[in-house]
Assembly symmetry: C2
Homo-oligomer: 254 residues x 2
């Protein structure tokens, strides 16, 4: 099996760190990449600070197949992402002719002045290609393996659709969830043994409180459907054994 | 004015990266720290991977006053946070007598076996102190400037309350939001000039679509109440000028 493509997400913006805005972009991108068989390995939330952005971009783009950033590409003084990307890649930044054309036409249509601040949104690092923005026209861009998107969820989501065809995808990991109706501490040891038996299956345990008492979702994930099913059967057999032992109220394959 | 304490959040867990779980912990911790006058500077989401956890902990604890981690302190094989913290600090790990006592009493009361997996939750790095868990007893811990908490939101939130008295707090930043009812591109240039006039006030612009058309929230934040109010008045004057110019439908101080 070839190695799956990997990715990191970089959320840029003071508003998430101050608590004012509750992020909705990470979950969306995580689901999106999972569906494409791309492994999201890491996410970072950082402030609108040039040094921090440049350092994070360079750390992440060196390590992963793709980096997806959100935020900081609007017309105001706190929108510094495009300049930071240029700095991270060591290239210049200038108005992209196609972006200028798109924005000029859009502002004309909207009866808005194509002023300097608005046209800043046409500036992209040298060598970057545009990412279409069907919502509010101001484009995102791709430079190297970094995709630079807006922070507004609706626009970011449209940009993901626009850029997706460029991505090398992987085999999609499938998952099976078994709800173990009992204490996580009772399932822990046999579950660890099952994990050792199935190294190509990642097994996680996510406890929760149900109306009937403590329970835990055992989530198995793998790109190998046969091994995934074998591991799930083994977990079910183990859970049934614990039920017969009186150590679980029951189990359910979700 | 003395420098405010700074912090980073480290969310540990594959389930957020796969998209299966939508994180709720970052927003809570961000609000909590803001209310204590502690500046959250960065957040990272990483997988249940020893090398990644150790590297992230060491990078963050060196840079910020505090680090708050969530996740990976349960009884199952994928709960490796305590061991990784010990490794990051270069210390051993062993069963903490007080944690053993708390857990033994709790499992006895609950009629559960104090088995090896469950008692793993009493293991903390040498030199760590416990963080009380009023929800499900298994404690978090503090080592150095790192606070290690559970990933389940209800438990994490109780742990924040338990550890908060240990934190050095700062002057709480106040914020004022002015809703500018017009295009962000029209407010951008004067807003940048106002930002330059008030270096102790951080001004952000967060566009949104209202039923009446495009609008943007201008959010001013500062620890200096006088400067904050001065900056807000200046923004209001500017917004009113744009309204009179026909470049805005209006504005509203929220």
């Amino acid at each position: 099996m070839t190695q799956a493509p990997t990715a990191a997400v970089l959320l840029i913006g003071n508003e998430v760190l101050s608590g004012r805005t509750k992020d909705k972009n990470l979950g969306f991108i995580a689901d999106y990449l999972s569906a494409l068989g791309i492994d999201l390995m890491e996410a970072r939330v950082i402030a609108d600070d040039e040094n921090d952005i440049v350092a994070a971009v360079n750390a992440l783009r060196a390590r992963y197949t793709y980096v997806f950033s959100t935020g900081g590409i609007g017309p105001t003084h706190d929108d510094i992402t495009a300049d930071c990307m240029a700095k991270a890649f060591g290239v210049g930044i200038s108005h992209h002719p196609e972006a200028v054309e798109i924005l000029t036409a859009y502002f004309k249509e909207m009866g808005r002045e194509a002023n300097e601040a608005r046209m800043r949104m046409a500036r992209v690092p040298e060598g970057a290609t545009l990412i279409n923005n069907p919502v509010s026209k101001a484009p995102g861009f791709r430079i190297g393996n970094v995709f630079v998107m807006a922070g507004v969820p609706k626009i970011m989501q449209a940009m993901m659709d626009a850029l997706a065809p460029q991505l090398v995808t992987g085999v999609v990991a499938k998952s099976i969830t078994i709800e173990f109706q009992g204490g996580e501490g009772d399932v822990a040891k046999p579950l660890g043994a099952i994990q050792d038996l199935f190294p190509t299956v990642t097994i996680g345990s996510y406890p929760f409180e149900s109306p009937q008492g403590f329970a835990t979702n055992l989530v198995l994930r793998s790109r190998d459907a046969g091994e995934l099913e074998n591991a799930a059967q083994t977990v079910v057999t183990m859970a049934e054994g614990l039920r017969l032992d009186g150590k679980a109220r029951g189990w359910k394959r979700l």
